[in-house]
């Protein structure tokens, strides 16, 4: 499943750039929404058996299907850790944000 397309926000530079009333193609609300995350789920691909319980559990749709495994959309992941709790094979682990990209 492809990541939903979120259009870049371009601020109108004059009245003429505004739509007629509050009615416009969606996509201007947010490009990222994850600023308050203190820990991130990190995937160890070799341990993933593609059960997709993380995909089902994610309340934000931030777990994306990628081939026979998954990927995390860090632009929208809030770091709640539900995917890690659901993961039966310890393929997902929470890693503090100050250790970006590091794995054990």
């Amino acid at each position: 499943m492809a990541k939903p397309y979120v259009r870049a926000y371009v601020r109108p530079n004059s009245l003429a750039g505004y739509p007629t009333g509050p009615c416009f193609t969606a996509g201007h609300l947010a490009e990222t929404n994850a600023a308050w995350r203190s820990e991130r789920p990190v995937l160890t691909l070799e341990r993933c058996n593609a059960c997709l319980r993380c995909y089902l559990a994610c309340p934000d749709g931030a777990v994306l299907l990628r081939g026979r495994s998954i990927d995390i959309d860090y632009d929208f992941c809030k770091g709640c850790g539900l995917c890690v709790r659901e993961c039966g094979t310890h393929a997902l682990e929470m890693v503090p944000e100050n250790r970006k990209g590091e794995k054990k």
């Binding site: 009245l15 007629t20 009333g21 509050p22 009615c23 416009f24």
Partner: protein, 400 residues
């Protein structure tokens, strides 16, 4: 003028004339809640839908708030929508009025002008619509049953115009106009179809072009939407004039522009008013003219957008101007008077101004009352401030 040879003469009340106008406009959705003195408008429409002669969805909602909400929902799908209300009902839907205007939903609504509680009163005055004059709705004030039918049709053409896309409130004086029967020419469906094109808008929900509707705009963007609304409203003056001319071409009837001057060209004294009382004022003007007095009347047909330029052209050179209205903004003066006085304040030769508040809670406005207003306007003394406001027919002191 071509006229409409297939038109049918009928004997209709103001409410029935509005119902006929709404019927002939072929609305997809009618949502309404009954309230005196509006009830017979929606009774008639409901009858027609029930018997199958009107192919509209009629939504029996549980309140006026829901009536206008349902109209917005339907309008968001690109449907032509109609509703009607009055007084407390209009106030109950007040929250939705700004939603409809800000959302640019071109809903047409008839309002039977009626007094506001308390004290409880079901009779006519204009306090209801004037309390909501800044809600972003185009406000039209109607004098007779034929105009009621004709303007209901024109209202859809004005509201749905791409440069306007703003809802329209048609105001009829409660009982005096809503329940008075008059001969009315009811246009043929063919003639109306030739005049009023089906509603088309890009601002709607669509499976092929999905949009985000009714969204938030914070401090960075809200003002721009309000400026757009203001300009669309201003556009309505020109569009309403065009629509009126087009209507006259199709049906041979012209009810005048945003303002209708009556014998104002050489008048020194003019009474400005709106709604059905214009008929009484016109008769008194005729009577005083026959005695050689230079008096006239200016009827406001459109109150929002305010036709400032038209008003100045018609009465800008008068010596004395009165405003007769059935409302008061408590603690100051009549709402219409404030508008008229503001328009005239930019003039080099400022006329003397007086405000006559009359007809509250359905009290009759007699010819004698109007004669007395003209007499006051003709008296030379300048009136400023609070003393410009006169509550007609109220005795200030007792003579026990």
């Amino acid at each position: 003028m071509t006229g409409d040879p297939a038109a049918q003469p009928k004997f209709l009340s103001g409410n029935e004339a509005v119902a006929w106008g709404a019927r002939l406009a072929r609305p997809h959705v009618i949502a309404a809640y009954p309230i005196t003195p509006q009830t017979t408008v929606i009774e008639r429409l409901a009858d027609w839908v029930a018997e199958g002669s009107l192919a509209s969805e009629f939504l029996h909602v549980e309140s006026e708030h829901s009536a206008l909400s349902a109209c917005m929902g339907a309008s968001a799908l690109g449907a032509r929508t109609f509703t009607a209300t009055s007084s407390q009902g209009l106030l109950y839907m007040a929250e939705c009025l700004t939603y409809a205007s800000g959302g640019r939903f071109p809903i047409v609504m008839m309002n039977a002008n009626r007094a506001l509680a308390l004290p409880w009163n079901i009779y006519g005055d204009q306090q209801d619509s004037l309390a909501l004059v800044s809600s972003g709705w185009i406000q039209l004030y109607i004098e007779d049953a034929q105009e009621a039918l004709d303007l209901t049709l024109q209202a859809f053409a004005i509201a749905e115009h791409p440069e306007v896309l703003t809802p329209v409130m048609l105001n009829l004086d409660g009982f005096v106009l809503t329940h008075t029967y008059e001969p009315v020419a009811v246009p043929s469906q063919e003639a109306v179809d030739a005049f009023l094109a089906p509603f088309e808008t890009p601002n709607k929900m669509s499976l092929t072009h999905p949009v985000n509707m009714g969204f938030t705009a914070g401090p960075a963007h809200y003002t721009e939407f309000k400026v757009q609304q203001h300009r669309a409203m201003k556009n309505a003056l020109k569009v309403a004039a065009d629509v009126g001319r087009d209507f006259a071409r199709h049906f041979g009837r012209d009810h005048g522009g945003a303002v209708v001057p009556y014998l104002c060209e050489d008048a020194e004294v003019v009474l400005v008013t709106l709604g059905s009382v214009a008929g009484t004022v016109r008769e008194v003007v005729d009577e005083l003219r026959s005695r050689g007095q230079a008096v006239g009347m200016l009827k406001l047909r459109i109150l929002r957008p305010f036709p400032e330029r038209h008003l100045l052209q018609a009465i800008g050179r008068c010596k004395s101007v009165g405003v007769l209205e059935k409302d008061v903004s408590f603690g100051y003066q009549g709402a219409v008077f404030s508008d008229v006085a503001a328009a005239l304040s930019g003039q080099g030769s400022k006329p003397m101004l007086r405000n006559f508040v009359a007809g509250l809670g359905g009290r009759d406005i007699s010819r004698d009352d109007v004669r007395a207003m003209f007499a006051m306007l003709q008296s030379a003394c300048d009136q400023t401030g609070e003393s410009r406001l006169h509550f007609v027919g109220v005795e200030e002191s007792t003579h026990a």
